[in-house]
Amino acid sequence: MKLTEAFQLAVKNIKGNRMRTFLTMLGIIIGIAAVIVIVGLGNGMEKYMRDQFADMGTNTVAVNIMGRGSSRSVSETQMYALVAENSEYFDQISPTVSFSGTVKIATESPSSTAVTGVSEAYFDMKGYTVSSGRGLQYVDMEKRRTVCVVGSYLNSTYYGGNAVGQTIRLNGKSFLIVGVMAQETDGEMEEGGTDDCVFLPYSTAARMSYTGKINSYTLTVVDETQAAACVSIVEDYLYDIFSDDDAYRVISMAQMLDAMNAMINVMIGILAGIAAISLVVGGIGIMNIMLVSVTERTREIGIRKALGAKERYIMQQFVMEAATTSALGGVLGITVGYGLSSVATIIVTALMQENLTVSPSIGAVLGAFGISTCIGIVFGYLPAKKAARLNPIDALHYD
């Protein structure tokens, strides 16, 4: 007897017991659908994180200096020198001075605008461009000029698109707007988004701050894969100065992305694992129904044996039936999983107001199909063995 014939026989028996087969497959359907949705969610989250980090630049290293008392500090000159000395690792550097204070445009006070003091290199490092006017220049730093570049959101919301040449008041001080940044976000700009920002020279920002010191830097690395080495270069340098590794923090965005992704993967793995338990339960369901089926068909098995079926053929028939049932369940589960993924995408997007697509990978789909088929084979084996071992005399007289 050929495998195709065993398959045809299995299909025939499945067709003859539609309702029962469907209920048997339900465990597999739910399990596979759950795994598909969860893996899809994981993929979506990972992609979302990657996009978020890409905005920040995965080639950047952020340095934060908390300092140690007032005795020791590191100057911007030292940091610039460090970058220059390690030019095979580092590309550019910009101090980043975050400004906390009031922002006033004419009579209005936007509250969520991010104001940052940066160097003339910052726009290049971040890949920002200026859509009108000019960017910040070295001379602005040197002379501590009260000039700034505003984000596209402020330009369109408060200045009607003509911000260049107008002024903005930061902590009561008037700044001349020399340039407008090109829109960064895809789609609509939002309050508090990437485009709701002001950049001023870091030297001006530092002077306006409470301590007057520069405490953070952003560095770009030449090769993202060398991020870990870059981090340790900076750390070693700072340790020599402070002799205390609590005095500073060096974070590579690439490493952070990896760490976040690893976390997401662990989470998804655990969730998928829990979902997979229902696959095992589904498998047991199949085994149970196959055992019932063997008992019901004891007479059939006896007849087949009397007609010359070898044990191997009887086994083949029942294993094939179990495998076909669970593989069919797998296919239905994949279909349901895809449907649920689309629904989940809509729900997540609506709830989080973020673009997160739940997208099951082909690998997960193939894996799910393979696993469901294997479950059928594994859990069909025992009932099939039982069927094959039946004594034909007993089987023929079974009612």
Binding site: M1, N13, K310, E311
Partner: protein
Amino acid sequence: MSALIEFQDVSKIYEMGESVVRAADRISMKIQKGEFVAIVGQSGSGKSTCMNIIGCLDVPTNGTYLLDGRDVGSLDKNQLAEIHNKMLGFIFQQYNLLPRLTLLENVEVPMMYAGVPKNDRRERAKVALEMVGLGSKINHRPAQLSGGQQQRVSIARALVGEPAVILADEPTGALDSHTGREVLSLLQQLHAAGNTVVLITHDNSIAVQAQRIIRLEDGRVIYDGDARTADAVVSSSLAGLGGGQ
């Protein structure tokens, strides 16, 4: 020439707790190729045990069963499956057709296990069904047929693989006398065509349709000879109750 079926001191002993039942007690017999033999006896006489042993569904406790010269006791499961498939054709009292399959598919089953290619076996199954007069119903299911028709399907299934022995176990047991006679005449036709037919029955009126009768009582052979002599019918004290002709 050696016999097709040969029992040499075959015994089958069942131990049920304390009591020991000798279902077959040192039976020796020979059935030649082309014979039509009825094994007859009352319930508990050992005829079912004999039938199981002849059909290789069971093995003797003692003694030797030779089928076409081969000692069945020495064969493994796969060889036995092949003997079921190629040497034996079963006809059961309850027809034992597979309810989900069509008549054609039912008749194909033994050839499927024998590895006959699909088109070939379809053709042969059709011929066999035509031979038993059911050529017009090949796509029906067993439940759509009368008992006599189902039994004819099972005869078609038994003979389609051209087995050495056709083994009929109470083939008329579930049929009325008219259809029973039809089935019997079909068996007689098979015999006339050169097949070896072994018929197991409790009914004398059926048994006498055969050429030779082997009568069993308490696991022993008490008569073995021509079906047409008076002895065949009256040799057992109880046999008369089955009614002769």
